[in-house]
């Protein structure tokens, strides 16, 4: 697989709108979670909500796409000059040579929930202005952003739960290697809805306080929402010194259980080993690992087992979900953006302070931000159904 250069990037989550706010929140180890007061939900939990999503106005010609997920997608797209970077890629390669691959777990589910509460009293039909293709379909997000960016290349949605927007990097890299495209917009958008909040509650995986990944009293996840995009391009010209590349992707399946990870982290281990192999790197080449680190007892210990097996105990690692919450189908892309920020700013972000570490897990978990050169990082994203994906980003060596 060939390395791809990252020529544009933006991220919006509860810790910030755009990269500048995101970076300053990471520097301050700030937590963006708040006690859940979302719509009419009655849940004893904390959530990572993005402000003013509902103020976002959708253009008239895209009105049928109006739902929280697409409003969040649009709000985030406006930051960090991302649209200009995409326009430059279109200029460079042609509109048909730029693909778009976006991940989401629930797309516009909140809108479908609304439609079911507003069924016609007599006929039982959903409201006439409920448009399945533009809001409920997992592809609705990709089609919406594709139209906003006026792209005409290959497109798809990846929906593999919490690994969705990590796996889009693999699809994009393979498509570039195939010769069908030269550049790709990848990313993920997932927004708050009742189905995921009550669903994780039913599995007993929702924390009542802010999630505390890898702490000795961790009690589950906090759900957040986010949108993050990266622009990947084939390397054609000499790169400048500040360039960060996608070096490798590794994917695997647990083949174990629908909602519990393999206890030894076997699938996670395979994903990390395959990413290292794809990048042509050794475990000691990795300076920092951004963990999947959701904060559930089983996930964190399975991941720690896998990390210890592949990397030993000395590679600094942390989860940033204590800051952003678990943004589900957007987590892979959000944390990819955080990894690129880590490299560009020589910062290994620890996330908010979260009490005593779980000493049974033999890994070097950062309890404070660490400063210093970061050349190569690995990011993990694991999902329901045992869907695992690891990404490696770094400088040109």
């Amino acid at each position: 697989m060939s390395s791809l250069t990252i020529s544009g990037m933006t991220a919006t989550s509860c810790i910030g709108r755009g990269l500048t706010q995101t970076l300053s929140a990471l520097r301050a180890q700030r937590c963006g979670l708040v006690r859940c007061a979302f719509r009419d939900l009655v849940l004893d939990t904390w959530i990572g909500e993005v402000d003013v999503v509902d103020d976002e106005a959708i253009d008239a010609d895209l009105r049928e796409f109006n739902c929280r997920n697409n409003r969040l997608a649009q709000l985030a797209l406006a930051e960090d000059g991302f649209v200009d970077a995409v326009d430059a890629a279109i200029e460079r390669w042609g509109r048909r040579r730029v693909g778009i691959f976006l991940g989401t777990s629930t797309a516009g589910m909140l809108r479908t929930e609304w439609a079911f509460r507003h069924r016609d009293a007599v006929s039982g039909q959903l409201p006439a202005d409920f448009v399945y293709a533009a809001t409920h379909s997992p592809y609705s997000l990709t089609e919406f952003v594709r139209r906003k960016l006026r792209l005409e290349g290959p497109a798809l949605a990846v929906s593999s739960a919490c690994s969705s927007s990590a796996k889009v990097f693999a699809s994009a890299q393979r498509m570039v290697d195939s010769g069908l495209i030269d550049a790709a917009v990848v990313g993920g958008v997932d927004s708050l809805c009742a189905t995921t909040l009550y669903g994780f509650k039913s599995l007993g995986l929702l924390a009542e306080e802010c999630c505390r990944p890898f702490s000795d009293d961790r009690a589950g996840i906090s759900i957040g929402e986010a949108a993050a995009y990266l622009l990947l391009e084939r390397i054609s010209d000499p790169l400048d010194d500040d360039s960060v590349l996608l070096l490798g992707v590794g994917e695997s399946s647990d083949a174990y259980h629908m909602s519990s990870p393999h206890p030894e982290g076997l699938g996670a281990r395979l994903a990390m080993e395959r990413a290292l192999h794809a990048a042509g790197l050794n475990p000691r080449d990795i300076d920092y690992i951004n963990l999947h680190g959701t904060g559930t007892i089983a996930n964190d210990s399975a991941e720690a087992n896998a990390i210890a097996h592949v990397f030993g105990t000395a590679t600094p690692c942390s989860s940033t979900k204590g800051a952003t919450g678990h943004t589900l189908g957007a987590a892979g892309a959000l944390e990819a953006a955080i990894c690129v920020l880590a490299i560009k700013n020589a910062l290994m972000p620890s996330g908010p302070s979260a009490g005593r570490r779980d000493d049974t897990m033999a890994i070097d978990y950062l309890s404070q931000n660490q400063h210093g050169k970061v050349s190569t990082v690995l990011s993990n994203a694991f999902g329901f159904g045992g869907s695992n994906c690891s990404l490696i980003f770094g400088r040109l060596t």
Partner: protein
């Protein structure tokens, strides 16, 4: 150049029980007659998962297994691509109805079955496959998007690739917003090199012009054309038609809005 060889095929749909069935209908030897899709429980799944899995999972596992058997490839070996237009219609209906009625106690099994990669997860549990597994969607173009994903994966992987495209019906009221009337599932087992006795066709993404402005060709038979347009996964029918008839030439598959995917077909000896 993106290409591959089809060594195994599985099909299940309204009035179609197997690839052998479909082949006779597509060549015109037997008239196609629509009837409700008949599912059989997967012997591959352990009993607890068999009880938990939905109808869409059963259909996808059945065709995936049939394609592996026809190709004589152990099901744990291929990397996989699962393409669906949407998730499980029954579960979406059940969760949304319950919540609209104020019942927030979602069943844990229903919740984990509601993810779009449920089929991929059950496939892994059933077969032990720890290979990469993509889960993709592109609305009515999901089959073509999945085929493209499968061919790029085949070029990158050192294993065969199993593509499974499947969709389930929606109960009302979602049915009116997305009128998918029944289950359809198709599986192709793809290999990078031809096998002298097993390969049935070579498929290749047209190099010069991979994407066409023209829509896909309709099926000549009106009942088959109605099947093709009513269930997203059945948009594979022009490709299956070409394989069954051992045609050489281009097939255009519905892909993105106003864009078809052009596939060059050559039958194998």
């Amino acid at each position: 150049m993106l290409n591959g060889y089809i060594d195994g095929i599985g099909v299940l749909g309204p009035g179609i029980k197997s690839w052998q069935d479909a082949e006779r209908m597509l060549t015109g030897d037997v008239a196609y007659a629509a009837a409700r899709t008949v599912l059989s429980p997967s012997a591959l799944l352990p009993p607890p998962e068999r009880r938990r899995a939905g109808r869409g999972v059963m259909a996808a596992l059945q065709v995936g297994h049939a394609a592996c058997v026809m190709a004589d490839v152990p099901p744990s070996e291929p990397a996989s691509v699962f393409a669906s237009s949407g998730g499980d219609g029954d579960i979406c209906h059940a969760i949304c109805s319950a919540m609209a009625a104020g019942d927030h106690l979602i069943s844990p099994t229903q919740f984990h079955n509601s993810v779009h990669n449920a089929i991929s997860g059950y496939w892994g549990i059933a077969t032990g496959a720890m290979t990469p597994s993509s889960v993709v969607s592109a609305y009515d173009g999901s089959f073509a998007a999945g085929l493209l994903e499968a061919l790029t994966l085949l070029a990158a992987a050192c294993t065969p690739v199993l593509l499974v495209a499947s969709d389930t019906d929606y109960p009302p009221p979602l049915y009116r917003a997305r009128p998918v009337p029944d289950i359809f599932a198709v599986a192709l087992l793809l290999t990078a090199t031809p096998h002298p006795t097993k390969s049935v066709a070579r498929i290749r993404v047209a190099d010069a012009a991979p994407f066409a402005e023209t829509p896909s060709q309709p099926m000549g038979d009106t009942a088959l054309e109605s099947l093709r347009t009513s269930i997203p996964a059945a948009r594979c029918l022009p490709l299956l038609h070409s394989i069954a008839r051992r045609d050489t030439g281009n097939v255009i598959l519905d892909y993105l809005d106003s864009q078809g995917l052009v596939i060059e077909m050559v039958p194998c000896a």
